[in-house]
Symmetry: C2
């Protein structure tokens, strides 16, 4: 496509002619692909047209390497304008436009209904609104760390500005001086339900200004000269405060260029009929090839295959295990914090090593990131109480060549931000989500702070592995295990201090020679009369219960199912052979460990005596030991259950 | 406690003396309860002291009826200041202050670590920050509808202002002209991690102004005269625009009145030691009764019992069922929309009937609320793309004497807003959450829009019942069933049109005489060789599969498990007796119907041949029929599974 230098003072007449030709191809691809698919979002695609095309005309990228680290990045937060995004990428020669027309919204092609990174050139899967600016913050932040000169542009809708997460991202961008971040708002004044000023009145410009952003406004986002001048100005930082990020408010027209679509909110999310398509093509000023493309769409799939750059190659020294001795008493959080500080020391000040970020939301002390911060202050990121933003930021940063540990309380890292984690997972991020204060073990903070659904929630995300360490030794080993892995990992842990789990010889069970292995449960003790399968603090309770029933002549095994996902189905099978299986978890009894074990039993057609112990109602406020007792998951209750079921 | 009229021009000297005495009792309760519990949040409690006490001195409430409809409402969004909230309520004579001291953060008492409504006078359980202003919007909105003159004050922290949901609530309050809503910000400039300007710089005042709020600022939130004047001014609406809501920014000092706590962020979330407590009491200027109260706390529980006003009494005409005939084809959404419009017609313009709200987030047409809006435009609420705010608003409004139906796509009503639903549930709301576009049935919109975890998510919330209707007839009956019930209900449904499910005689299975019953599955067809348990669109696929295998000589039953929570364990048990159970769901195979059935099988020690069919990876973008096929949950795949397992 036409290349335009932002060093020019203005566009030449020839360039405008070429841009107009480009627009015609773009607009016809938009209307073809939506009408032939019978659905999609042409209206916003057309209102974003000139912005999209100017981005690809005037910025740097490499169509042969969509992941080129130095590329300028365009994050499309209003993911429903996929017809526009794909059509612009076709203009930029990432792939032929016919691919968009034959593949759009068809199973087995990359060209999904909302933008997806399997399409070469798409930076981030979106569709759930309001998350793009946070992702953009991550790319802009990465550029600062990498001394990269690339620019990050985030394209957003105007209705989308209603999402609260955007205000969080705005503040973060200012705090971290992200003057290489540029928000562009497609201000067409319509959302699905109609006029944005009726649906939800909002002073968009004033909001950005109140958060210390620079704002540039153009009256006509379909005037090539104005769009060019705005890009030139914002990239050159000819703004009030060049140290701050900039928002470009582009006044546009929904459906621009297609007579019946202009200013009609119906075309936010509806395609023109095949009859209307002919009018649309006439309006755009191109030949009618409807029959040709309709036939083509029936007969073939796109030549473009799903783009997959593969996992990142991390070069991380995970160090030597720290072993906490049989007489030590500490919490898993400290085990985590110590390991994290080791990782900082071994990698962040060493040439050639992948750098490790640690980030939290105003809970640095509680999640034990202080030692990391001391070791490596520049890689510690404080997001404030902005969990939605922080989660997306962490996800995207983990795709910019860094290993990212994100920690907060379980309730904020899972319940509050589930959809951000979900979108991260769909984006194949490499996030290390380590949540502390899960379970009733959070104690006196009470039900609003008790994360007792973390397994059910993160367990719903296909890409996440889940490991629940039982003591600080295992925590150390799990953290070091995930530290150099790509992909998403979730490591939940409680709050309280504890003794180490010991083997029969009185030595740490997860000692010097222990290596963590996903999908393998730990047989802490064998037993022939039954088995307790437990996680987290319940492993300790189970050990006590085991001793109690031993006195009554029962030999009960204890399994620590640290690897929840993948789970150790074979070991569960073996446990079932004892004839009695009890699961114990500091978690909702219906959606966690017990349920996973039941699934294995049902699938393997095993029918031992079986009981799930866990939490059946919202917890109260009190010491965790008192809460365990009140909910029937303390050692006494477990022992009583074993005895009762062994009758 | 002292009563002060806001009609006075200013406070008298005697009143100030009395307020000071009140403050001393308040402050000593705060430090006693936290220090004796060994945890809690004294710092913010003391910075909010004068605001809390002025509220209870100058507003209207009835300690003998904390739910009095005409009461002024104080929603405490910064729920960690529970010591302050409880101490102020004790001053207001809701209960004796000794109850707070002996009960705070102890299992079996109402006085939890974050404010809870079981404490008389507490309006809303919080602790997860950023939600209170949305709840306040609901109360203020309810006053407008009820022609109530009460005022709603929302107390918030300054760190909390970082949460994006607050910006959503601000815009909503302006859109709906909530000039009876008053936000008070405890501006002590410290959050857990320290100085708010370092943790996350923010222009709080400018943000409110940019959203068209009135702002009043007082220099000293510990000066009784200033606090009085501010309350007087804001309630009298002596502000720039009396038609708009008002925010009072009160400059305060964390830990005010206790020397070592002042301006020290440590005391945001830590109690003074018992030694320090003595200093604190001296600073406050009261007698040292540490030993007395320490003893008292050991020996007794509070006399105050958990407050529970019981469920609301709705008076709602649910109308006559609409029956869709054997030849009709429509979608569940329309079945919902039609029933909802009936409810509006039968109740919203009738005297004495409970009024019904319908609310959505810019998806009115998709969730089929148009007919309701036509029937009853004043009770239709459009929240814009502000799902977090809308969810809290809907929950709180359902506790203000209204029946509230909240609808959006599944992904926005569950994944995006899980934590708001969770806090609603903890608040014992009466929400009717009806989500459309769940499952792969959302089709071409692709993975970001495919809600395939809705059962795992909402299933984690103890208070929610979940019913998944199989066709528009059942939808009609389920909607009418929940329409006059208190409590939380979740009704998910897909997008596509379908034929009605018919009985063997060709008549609608869910016909005129069908009544929905929770906890009862529907045996659509009996079968002796096995049973398919299905939900939603999979019931239709299962019926087709049943026919296909019938030709191969197999008699396979089909159960529709509409009532997912509570589930029909007895029917699953019966199904297991056929020796073959297959579950089919348009949902994550690990966290939905199949898992629930496995739980029942394991618990009942049944071991039929068993297979869960569902979704094992994020879905693609395409027609739902194509997606069902790609994920192996279409009729052909189900039939093939039956045949394979019957070998």
């Amino acid at each position: 496509m036409i290349r335009i230098s932002l060093d020019q003072s203005e566009l030449t007449a020839e360039q405008v002619v070429e841009l107009e030709e480009s627009w015609k191809r773009f607009a016809s691809t938009v209307v073809y692909c939506t009408s032939l698919a019978g659905s999609g979002h042409p209206g916003g695609s057309l209102s974003c047209a000139h912005i999209l095309l100017m981005f690809y005309a005037a910025t740097d990228y490499d169509t042969s390497d969509p992941s080129d680290p130095d590329r300028d990045r365009l994050i499309i937060s209003n993911g429903h304008i996929s017809p526009g995004a794909y059509s612009a990428l076709a203009e930029a020669e990432f792939f032929p436009s016919e691919d968009v027309i034959v593949g759009f919204r068809k199973v087995g092609t990359p060209f999904g209904g909302h933008v997806e990174t399997v399409v070469p050139g798409i930076e981030w899967n979106t569709g759930n609104l309001g998350q793009g600016l946070s992702a953009g913050c991550a790319s802009a932040l990465a550029a600062k760390y990498n001394k990269g000169s690339y620019r990050t542009v985030v394209l957003m809708g105007d209705g989308e500005q209603q999402k609260g997460q955007i205000s969080e991202a705005r503040r973060f961008a200012v705090k971290y001086g992200l003057n290489n971040l540029f928000a562009v708002i497609d201000y067409n004044k319509l959302q699905i339900g109609g006029d944005i000023t009726k649906i939800m009145p909002q002073n968009i410009k004033e909001e950005y200004i109140s958060d210390d952003w620079n704002v540039i406004e153009i009256e006509d986002g379909h005037d090539w000269h104005q769009v060019f001048a705005a890009f030139k100005k914002m990239f050159a930082r000819e703004v009030d405060d060049p140290s701050k990020p900039t928002m470009l408010l582009a006044n546009t027209v929904m459906g621009k260029g297609v007579s019946f679509m202009e200013n009609d909110e119906k075309y936010h999310g509806s395609a023109a009929s095949l009859d209307q398509l002919k009018t649309a093509l006439k309006d755009i000023g191109v030949e009618d090839k409807v029959d040709y493309y309709a036939q083509l769409r029936k007969n073939r799939l796109p030549v473009t295959k799903a783009y997959n750059p593969g996992p990142p190659r991390f070069n991380i020294d995970t160090g030597e295990p720290r072993v906490y001795g049989p007489d030590e008493k500490t919490d898993n959080r400290s085990g985590y914090g110590n390991a994290l500080a080791d990782l900082a020391r071994l990698n962040n000040n060493k040439d050639g090593k992948t750098k490790i970020f640690a980030m939290t939301c105003d809970l640095e002390g509680s999640v034990k990131m202080n030692a990391f911060e001391k070791e490596s202050p520049e890689y510690f990121i404080e997001n404030g109480i902005q969990e939605h933003h922080a989660t997306t930021l962490a996800g995207r940063l983990s795709k910019e060549g860094f290993q990212v540990f994100f920690s907060t309380f379980g309730v904020f890292g899972t319940s509050e931000t589930y959809n951000q984690e979900r979108l991260n997972d769909i984006n194949h991020t490499n996030l290390k989500l380590v949540c502390t204060h899960v379970g009733l073990d959070v104690g006196e903070d009470g039900p609003t702070h008790q994360s007792i659904d973390y397994l059910g929630l993160i367990g719903s995300l296909y890409g996440f592995s889940i490991f629940v360490p039982a003591d600080p030794n295992q925590t150390d080993r799990v953290i070091r295990y995930i530290a150099d892995k790509p992909g998403n990992y979730f490591v939940p842990m409680g709050r309280s201090k504890m003794s180490m789990i010991l083997d029969e010889g009185g030595e740490p069970f997860f000692g010097k020679d222990y290596q963590f292995e996903p999908g393998k449960g730990d047989v802490i003790r064998e037993g022939k009369d039954g088995c307790i399968i437990a996680i987290g603090p319940m492993v300790h309770e189970a050990m006590t219960a085991r001793k109690a029933v031993e006195k009554k002549g029962l030999s009960i095994g204890v399994i620590n199912m640290c690897s929840i996902k993948p789970i150790d189905a074979e070991l569960i099978n073996r446990a079932a052979d004892t004839g009695l299986v009890i699961t114990a978890e500091d978690h909702n009894v219906n959606t966690g460990l017990g349920s996973l074990v039941a699934n294995v039993l049902a699938e393997k057609r095993k029918a031992p005596k079986f009981k799930r112990l866990g939490i059946s109602e919202y917890g109260g406020s009190g010491k965790s030991a008192d809460l365990f007792k009140a909910h029937g998951i303390d050692a006494d209750s477990i022992a009583a259950t074993v005895l009762d079921m062994s009758k």
